[in-house]
């Protein structure tokens, strides 16, 4: 029995040490990517190419999800607010929830599973098929040539996608509450505008999405580059990217929210 307890504790200790060690390796790799970003910024074409895969190909899912999330928010918000006779505040509810939280967070979660996993799988597969080694032997640094452009494309795409998500959400809310239910459209916009502040809500939401972009892109490229060069290795790394970045997004969101909105309102 005591043997069993010891082995459980050992197991916990092993996992903790392992994850801290991995965090260290990941951070070092992150710094390495930043240091070697010179090439991708000088040859911006490399980043543009990756922007297509991370940004443009994520557009559809972001637009559709944003629209539906906004529509649901409008419907639920209207149902609840109606009970208190303040259905005119539905615009405020939709806009504030989207701009402050749902826009950056949901867009980031979608982005992690759409683009983050693709980045990991691609880099992992390039490693497994010796493409990265071949590049190294051609005297081209794979971190500078393959990893850094994908990282920066992720960092640039994320805030733009989050903004698109929020706008689509506001439009979705408008569609449901104004067009279908019949809330006055002037009220919808004016209530929204008087409650949403540029500095506190929109800028903070934007900053959040930038943080999420860096986190997702860094996790995705690290997991890909670190993946064992086998089929199971790559699939495991892809799963880890989605899980780790989702957790990172939610954790970061809490920390950032605590910093940004403490003492306000």
């Amino acid at each position: 029995m005591s043997k069993y307890i010891v082995s459980v504790i050992q197991n916990i200790g092993h996992r903790v040490i392992e994850s801290i060690w991995r965090l260290g390796v990941g951070s070092r790799f992150f710094l390495l990517v930043l240091l070697k970003s010179g090439t991708s910024l000088r040859r911006f074409n490399l980043v543009i190419r990756e922007l297509y895969f991370t940004g443009v190909l994520s557009l559809i899912i972001i637009v559709v999800s944003g629209l539906f999330v906004g529509m649901v928010l409008g419907l639920q918000g209207y149902e609840t607010l109606q009970k208190y006779g303040s259905e005119s505040a539905v615009g405020t509810l939709v806009a504030l929830s989207l701009v402050r939280e749902l826009g950056p967070v949901v867009a980031a979660l979608l982005f992690a599973s759409r683009a983050g996993s693709a980045i990991t799988a691609e880099i992992g597969l390039m490693k497994a098929t010796e493409q990265l080694a071949a590049m190294g032997l051609m005297a081209v640094d794979p971190v500078a040539r393959v990893v850094a452009p994908r990282f920066w494309a992720g960092v640039i795409s994320m805030p733009l996608l989050a903004a698109i998500f929020s706008v689509m959400g506001v439009l979705g809310g408008y569609l449901v509450t104004v067009v279908f239910i019949g809330v006055d459209q002037g009220t919808y916009w004016s209530q929204m505008q008087s409650a949403v502040d540029f500095r506190f809500d929109i800028l903070n939401g934007f900053i959040k999405s930038c943080f999420f972009g860096v986190a997702i892109a860094a996790i995705a490229v690290f997991e890909g580059y670190d993946a064992p060069p086998t089929a199971e290795g790559v699939s495991g790394a892809t799963t880890r990217t989605v899980v780790t970045s989702s957790l990172a997004i939610l954790g970061l969101d809490f920390i950032l929210t605590a910093f940004m909105f403490r003492g306000v309102s």
Partner: protein, 270 residues
């Protein structure tokens, strides 16, 4: 060093953790020759290639590439040196996100400032040399295994290297593709004046095209010689390897405790 030797390997040792993989290897590779390194799976052939390209550092001894000791070079110098080396990976390792044309143009675009029109001419020349000029617009996933290997070959000669290393170039090819690759290795070596190192265990094919053969077993050079000498060799290891016999100096059984012990029959030996 003498000018006709591109590579000199002296007393090269390498161990992975505590497991010794290479134990004192000596080799010389003259310019303009095709040299084959043969040996069973896991005998350290690929490790040798990685030592030559400077990917890993030897634990003792050195590799000299046209006079420079590879593992003593700075990172910048090593990268410069690697531009003189081409490498053909086992399955080609083409960049899957680039077209055939862009794969071959990759190094020219990364390392030179040549105008695009000149790159185009050079790429088509290299592709022509491997007979795939017409396939320049295809993506790697549209190629057969043999074609991918040829494109990879065109890519590795893109900057006219003085050395090309082939890591198991014949694996998984049909007999026709195999002949094509084999003849290409010979022809490119002769016409471009390069040195080629072919790591392989395809004995019959490689003996037809190479100038000199090294056999590696257990981290040392077990035998060496020209193809003719090797074919006529009576050394038991070489004989076993060339004729593909199951048991011999290279045992069929991995060493371990006796079979009877493993099956728990009790040790009946006296």
């Amino acid at each position: 060093m003498s000018s006709e030797n591109l590579i000199e390997i002296n007393d090269l040792n390498f161990s992975y953790n505590t497991r010794a993989i290479l134990k004192g290897v000596h080799m010389t590779m003259p310019r303009g020759k095709v040299i084959s390194i043969m040996g069973g799976s896991g005998s350290g052939k690929t490790t040798l290639l990685r030592l030559i390209s400077g990917e890993i550092r030897p634990s003792a001894g050195y590799v000299k590439f046209s006079g420079d000791v590879v593992h003593e070079l700075s990172r910048d110098k090593l990268f410069k040196l690697r531009r003189k080396m081409g490498m053909l990976f086992q399955f080609g390792a083409l960049f899957t996100d680039l077209s055939v044309f862009d794969n071959v143009a990759f190094q020219m675009r990364e390392h030179t400032d040549l105008p695009e029109s000149m790159i185009r001419d050079l790429v088509l020349m290299k592709l022509d040399a491997v007979g795939l000029r017409g396939a320049h617009h295809l993506m790697p996933n549209e190629l057969s295994g043999g074609m991918a290997r040829r494109v990879a070959l065109a890519r590795s000669i893109a900057l006219d290297p003085s050395l090309i290393m082939y890591d198991e170039p014949f694996t998984g090819l049909d007999p026709i593709s195999l002949s094509v690759i084999g003849n290409l290795i010979r022809r490119l070596t002769d016409t471009l004046g390069m040195t080629s190192i072919v790591v392989t265990h395809d004995v019959q094919k490689s003996l037809k095209i190479v100038d000199y053969v090294y056999f590696i077993a257990d981290g040392v050079i077990a035998a060496e010689g020209t193809p003719k000498e090797v074919m006529e060799s009576t050394a038991p290891f070489v004989h076993q390897f060339i004729h593909g016999e199951e048991d011999g100096p290279v045992p069929f059984h991995y060493s371990g405790q006796s079979y009877r012990q493993d099956l728990d029959l009790g040790d009946t030996r006296v």
